[in-house]
Subunit: 247 residues, 2 copies
């Protein structure tokens, strides 16, 4: 099979997996956890997993993939950069809403924020993501940034792009685990987590879907022959090209 056909097969799979992740997290929050509100209740918390899965994993995963899509290679580099930055800004905004939802619920319930391993990893990932966005904007979209700085930062930006995805997925997995322990092992719950009621199956499968989605994204990102052709030929010349001009 032609390499580009394999790419589109993996890309279609990643889109399908991303869609399934969003469907599963909404089904979990709406079907099992009572739906959504913005009032400090558990329904407010439900925005947290939905925003994090949709923003920090699915939209973010698609945002970091923009340069790998062969149908974008005929577009100007500037347009690709703007699409990449805009998608990431959307993902970051959802992450902030997701954090506010968790903090709002905690504050109303007098639960401290940011004490668990899950919250530490998730918060580190969001902070790194915010920094990554800011540095990416300063280095790659501001025309006055020196070319040597742009070239020097490029590898770091690409590396952390992938690491942040790994960290957000790791954070989602620990978050699913934590939430299922809290709600299913609570005194008023009808079935404990260890008995794997349907809700636990659904959320555990969401975790596996997140894992599979991130594997497809990582595979497309890391496979050298699927990189933009001019990158492949000369990473440095591409990194130092003037960014606010057309290719």
């Amino acid at each position: 099979m032609k390499s580009s056909n394999v790419f589109y097969l993996v890309y279609t799979l990643s889109l399908l997996l991303g869609l399934l992740c969003v469907i599963f997290v909404i089904t979990w929050s709406k079907g099992y956890r009572g739906g959504f509100a913005w009032d400090g209740s558990a329904k407010m918390f439900n925005w947290h997993p939905v925003c994090m899965v949709t923003g920090l994993v699915v939209i973010y995963g698609n945002a970091i993939l923009v340069y790998r899509l062969p149908f974008t290679w005929s577009s100007s580099k500037l347009i690709l950069k703007l699409v990449h930055a805009t998608l990431n800004l959307g993902a970051l905004s959802l992450a902030v809403i997701g954090l506010l939802a968790a903090f709002g619920f905690h504050n109303k319930m007098h639960i401290p924020n940011l004490y668990s391993m899950h919250s530490w990893v998730g918060f580190i990932a969001v902070i790194l993501f915010g920094l990554q966005w800011l540095l990416g904007f300063l280095c790659f979209l501001l025309p006055c940034t020196p070319l040597w700085l742009r070239a020097a930062y490029r590898d770091v930006h690409v590396f952390f792009g992938l690491c942040i995805l790994a960290m957000t997925v790791a954070s989602c997995l620990s978050g699913i685990n934590e939430k299922l322990i809290f709600v299913l092992n609570a005194p008023n719950s009808t079935a404990s987590y260890k008995k794997l009621p349907p809700e636990a199956y659904l959320a555990n499968i969401l975790g596996v879907l997140l894992l599979c989605f991130s594997l497809t994204i990582a595979w497309m990102l890391l496979k050298r022959e699927w990189q933009r052709p001019n990158l492949h030929a000369s990473a440095l010349s591409d990194a130092t090209e003037p960014l606010l001009t057309e290719d």
Copy 2:
């Protein structure tokens, strides 16, 4: 600073972080969770985090790095392959002991195995690791394996090598989170997790150390200029060289 000096700086940092991870997980199990035994008690379970952190993260992380160490480049490829396979077999053996420790504790306490998100991710990681080791042995150490198969499998092996590290770290993070919820939020506990007693700090910091360790390993693995020189020149010829002969 010379690129090879930067490599050795990052490598030294990774060794230090790996050592700290092992010290932290042993301190947690011994200093806060009562130490070790092999009798189905909670002390038997304590082998689980120690084996997983030491084997699946620290030894595994060092095993996948073997080909990146400049001081090994003068050794024959066969010796490098044997060191890589042996370290990985050690890591895999510790993972199996870690699984047995968890299963033994669960069975004695009548707790089902493999129900939580943590256990699903961890088990998938161990299964993939076992498959990876077996396929690596069959493809790269058996002299009768066709060269085309060796070349075709090479990229997949390298890709999953890194993904398995990400999955084992993700699994450790959710495991730390789960264990702290179970032991600190138990009725007989003196301080709940949300009050961040010293044990919670120690274990959360262990999680951050695991994250930092895996970032240094991933950085050394992915940076192209730190790959073995002959790999850099021609991945295919290297992948297809006869494996049971000296270079």
